[in-house]
Symmetry: C2
Subunit: 762 residues, 2 copies
Amino acid sequence: MEGHIVLPPLGQTEWTLLWAVLASAFVAMGYGWYLVRRVLAEDPGTKKMQEIARAIEEGAMAYLGRQVRTMIWFVVLMAAGLFLMYYSVPEQYPHPLPIGVAVAFLMGVMASYGAGYVGMWLAVKANLRTANAALKGFKPALELAFRAGTVSGMFTVGFGLLGAVLIFMIFQENAMKVLIGFGFGGSLAALFMRVGGGIFTKAADVGADLVGKIEQNIPEDDPRNPAVIADNVGDNVGDCAGMAADIFESYEVTLVAAIILAAVCTVSLDFTAIYGEHASTFALKLILYPLLIRAVGVFSSIIGTWAVRGKEEELADPMRPITVGYWTASLVSVVGFLIVNYFYLLDPFTGAPDFRFFWATTMGIVLAIVTLWLTNHFTHPDLRPTTETAIAARTGAATLLLAGMAEGFESTVWAAVAIGLTILSSLVIFPDSPALAAYGIALTGLGLLTTTGFILAMDTYGPITDNAHGIFEMSGITEEHEASRNLAWMDAIGNTTKALTKGLAIATAVIAAISLFRSFIDATGLMEKGIQVNLPEVFVGLLIGGAVPFLFSSFAIKAVGRAAYLVVQEVRRQFREHPGIMTYDEKPEYGTCVSIVTAAAQKELLGPAILAIATPILIGFGLGPGALGGYLAGAILTGQLLAGYMCNTGATWDNAKKKIEDGFLGGKGTPAHVASVIGDTVGDPYKDTAGPAFNPLIKVMNLVGLLVAPFIIDVHLHEASVGRILIVVLCLIVLGIGIVFSKRGSLAEMAEEEEKSQVAQG
Amino acid sequence: MEGHIVLPPLGQTEWTLLWAVLASAFVAMGYGWYLVRRVLAEDPGTKKMQEIARAIEEGAMAYLGRQVRTMIWFVVLMAAGLFLMYYSVPEQYPHPLPIGVAVAFLMGVMASYGAGYVGMWLAVKANLRTANAALKGFKPALELAFRAGTVSGMFTVGFGLLGAVLIFMIFQENAMKVLIGFGFGGSLAALFMRVGGGIFTKAADVGADLVGKIEQNIPEDDPRNPAVIADNVGDNVGDCAGMAADIFESYEVTLVAAIILAAVCTVSLDFTAIYGEHASTFALKLILYPLLIRAVGVFSSIIGTWAVRGKEEELADPMRPITVGYWTASLVSVVGFLIVNYFYLLDPFTGAPDFRFFWATTMGIVLAIVTLWLTNHFTHPDLRPTTETAIAARTGAATLLLAGMAEGFESTVWAAVAIGLTILSSLVIFPDSPALAAYGIALTGLGLLTTTGFILAMDTYGPITDNAHGIFEMSGITEEHEASRNLAWMDAIGNTTKALTKGLAIATAVIAAISLFRSFIDATGLMEKGIQVNLPEVFVGLLIGGAVPFLFSSFAIKAVGRAAYLVVQEVRRQFREHPGIMTYDEKPEYGTCVSIVTAAAQKELLGPAILAIATPILIGFGLGPGALGGYLAGAILTGQLLAGYMCNTGATWDNAKKKIEDGFLGGKGTPAHVASVIGDTVGDPYKDTAGPAFNPLIKVMNLVGLLVAPFIIDVHLHEASVGRILIVVLCLIVLGIGIVFSKRGSLAEMAEEEEKSQVAQG
């Protein structure tokens, strides 16, 4: 049981290795800082461009400022709660552990937020520099954008590794318990950033398009649209800050889970039977191995980003440099695993390297490649699924929508099968020890995220080029300009990299959640009895856990609808009250749209956040640990399937539209194009709000489960204590508030008004 | 373990009761036959109406004929497989059990098919009589349509009860094993009828609309549309035959599961500890109780249908007579449960009635009412969810689609919570015996389906009035005619009753599947060890099981798209080659469309059917019984959630369109109306193809699990035998064929042509 496991004492070798890992964290951050300097040294372009970029920067920073003010109460409350909770069980959590967990939680929140902050801070400075570099050519623009993206990756990796190593050095044998707090902080912040950013970006996007494109018939990124800056800000808060925070927590949580599962080996009967007197020392090696793998990742990511070199003549296949970079990073990682395994993980009996750990870690790289392949297959404009979806536009929007959904449904199935096979591979690699097999799955997650630095570079590259393109258009540089074409190309690649990263983020989230789930089982001491879904209360837990992601989707989609409608009203108001905007005689007021979406996104966070935290507590205290286990399994299952479905369906619709805009079926302006625009709009909250938000959701829920585990071990279905009833009632009240809250808003009011006016007329 | 349980010998009382139940089966069928005579005696209307009705009848019957020819090979193969399988384990299945199971399987197929056949056979005769009765008024038309619908209910109940009692009488102590075969036959036929009917109905509907409404701008049900008869045929094969077969199998399967779970009590330690020397006799009572409850259902349904009385002045609330009927049927059922419990289920120690069984059964009635309330809330045109969805049409199709999806996602969550609470209620009613708690859940399923006769009457009423309305319009009777208004009203109620029945069908399917799942666990002897999702292979099973309904949706939606496209091509051809059709100078050839959809629907069945049968076998033999348990749990979970999501979202979109057509937001012809038509079309395969097909899917998979259970008990993950490898490879090959098959077709060919023509142009 987790509550009673302490890590073996650290020896001289371990301390040396910890210092080395710490050094590599500083290497990551130092390299990131070096890139910041290089990017900032570039020419920021014309005054007009700088003006536009400043508006985006101000909006983005204002959003993050507001985010802190929303989170702060939640976070302080949670930290206090964690402290009190553990303070009440001093046998398992002696002083200073409760305060350590609370502080680690706060550190986790800050690190996750910080990773998002730094990445976005530079992105909003890099966008206009990229736009300016595009005037010189494709190569300098590509490399600048990618370099700026790399900063996000480097600081994410650096913060994650720094936090973990420091906790290890300070708390030593109790590090595991404190690490959970750190991971939880990171996940909670990521949930806020992901959901808030997702609502912001799509509310602004949909709102801007509905009035701009449809009512006023002005193009995208037209400076006359009052919501255009909010739309560009949205790209940053969603795709930079949200994604960095999301990946940060997966990075952290896989590390925490791997360390816990290694520590569990020390008390596992099958492991100790195999390793006998060496069990403790070998387990210590397994505990440190994840940190070493992470250190390998720092260097492989850096080397990978070096390999990204644009060539002017390569415009025909602009994705190539990034693909080369990714393969380089992967290859270097595998070599790194091999070296670490060869020198460090020796079989204690024979002294020969035990390569099983190498294979388990490498399976993560394989899973990453398979996932990228699958995502690419289902969303690439030139491959069968997207082509068939586009073809369906011939008979209208309805058939296009159905075709895209069918592809999305299928895509998520294969992603699930790939993850299933990965899990089985760990059973094949470690056939004789369930404890090692569980650890092997966590290693797969570590392997999958080794190239985190590169993956985030790839992702952040997307919004930077998207913004650069927008700044260009708003500055009035014509579409015919060569630089504009370069940016359009880069923007298109950016869409691909964003889609690919989302696919990877889901896979990592699932593996991380599965590892956490396994840790939960160890923590509740349920390993022997197991989470038996044959028991009715566990099955009910599974049902409710599986249902929660559906409710979460409902909340997220409605939130976008409501917030977008507020934007529509504001944009309409500006056009109505200031007719000069359309004739360029008046300047629209960009700031009001930004603050409307900022406020709306923060308000809409409440429902999903309550759902993620209160429901697992309710199930745990209401129906016991087994039911909570079922709940977590159900949530992972449907969360993953819906995430893959929504992200891929959205990307397929998006690319079907792009394909048609590129001339397929007659190109822009045809009925097929109109149909594909509808598909793309439906896909927006799918792929950018609800879809990616499942990642932090399933991890937060698993971490909540892990945190409350020590307190629900003794909960039995038919026994009622006052404390338990109080907690259950409290959770129900809080959930009720969250649900009622998520139903109020602009649409309901509109519906009421309409009904009234109908009655008045009739 | 199921393989070793034999039922206690039947005494004099039991035989008397069995004869009484048999008599009630004949009452149901006799009453059904009496109604057939009454309906056929009604005036079939004008020659023109008869001509149209004949075309529908011929198409519908041709479809069912073709259905038999498709199923026959599958069915014969499965029967032979079942026989051989059980023949190979003579200790558990001595002669004549293997032949008994195979014959029972065939009987199940015939009964399920027969239930669908009879219902549809009368529906296609009742539609024009209803149309004619509408000329006299609302009351005679409503009552005639409902009476005709009741026939479907009565024969379904009669066949189900007859088959079960006969098997009981013939096989006595081995009845349980044979009953599984009967249930499996019913489920398999239902899967074929549901999926085939669902593809047929929506392919015809979408195909007819795409060319008729959109390209040629002619109204729905216009006799010039060559696909109009196919569309009307589709209503019958989908909503009459498909639904009747579906409900038949839920009816049968809950009965089978309740009997198995009662039989399991005889070997359950907790049960025998409580009842001691009375255990065997009391368990026998529990085994017969489900049959008695079913007999109660015959009478409560009949009384309920009597209570459906239309009043001319009640047009303001035309749903009222049906609601009154439903409440009557429910109330009579509860009284019936009370009487049976009072006289029959006495505590063996005290002799007082043990009302716990009454409460468990009544919970089913409560769940039915809650489910109906939830479905109504989320889909009724005048309530908040549909109104908000309609309002969203103001800003276009995309926002309407998103709003409807958000409502659908939420609706399925509450349905899952309702089912979860029902399961927990059984734990509260039977706190001290897990075996009785499991039996209690099965009783809830029985209670839920007590009013089957009434539910099917309500459902079949839908297509009858829909068809009647169509026949009216095609006969050229103007919209202003009072009778046409009556039928439009009745048609609108029909849509509501269809939506409500779908909600109920899902709930029954889930409860039935959960009971089967529990039987599976007993059959594999996994009760002690449990289905532990914490074990990696079980979790992988859960993942794959959860993914299968997503793949199934993908298949079903694509199938509709492909088949609809074939209809579009044929309709376009007819209009092109016979320009006289549009000017009424030529008659369109209805038959070709009917045979195209018939052939397409049968062809498209292959993929989903293979998926349902081969995947559980693959998981069972590949990863063992625990993984198969996880698989079944995962499939129930996502199958239920997706079914609720798809049925309710589809109904919400449908009703949002109706609301707008009734004048909301400006009514027909407005952009909001155009947007709502897109929503309705997307919803068609959601609510009529994929959504309802999950019901037979999850039951067939659970039954396959139950059937292979005795053969996989000894399968262990790391041991490979030749037989096991052969089965796994065979399943993979068959699955591969099914998947590849589901990818070929019209859309892929179109995509290829388009790409080629682009290359040729470029």
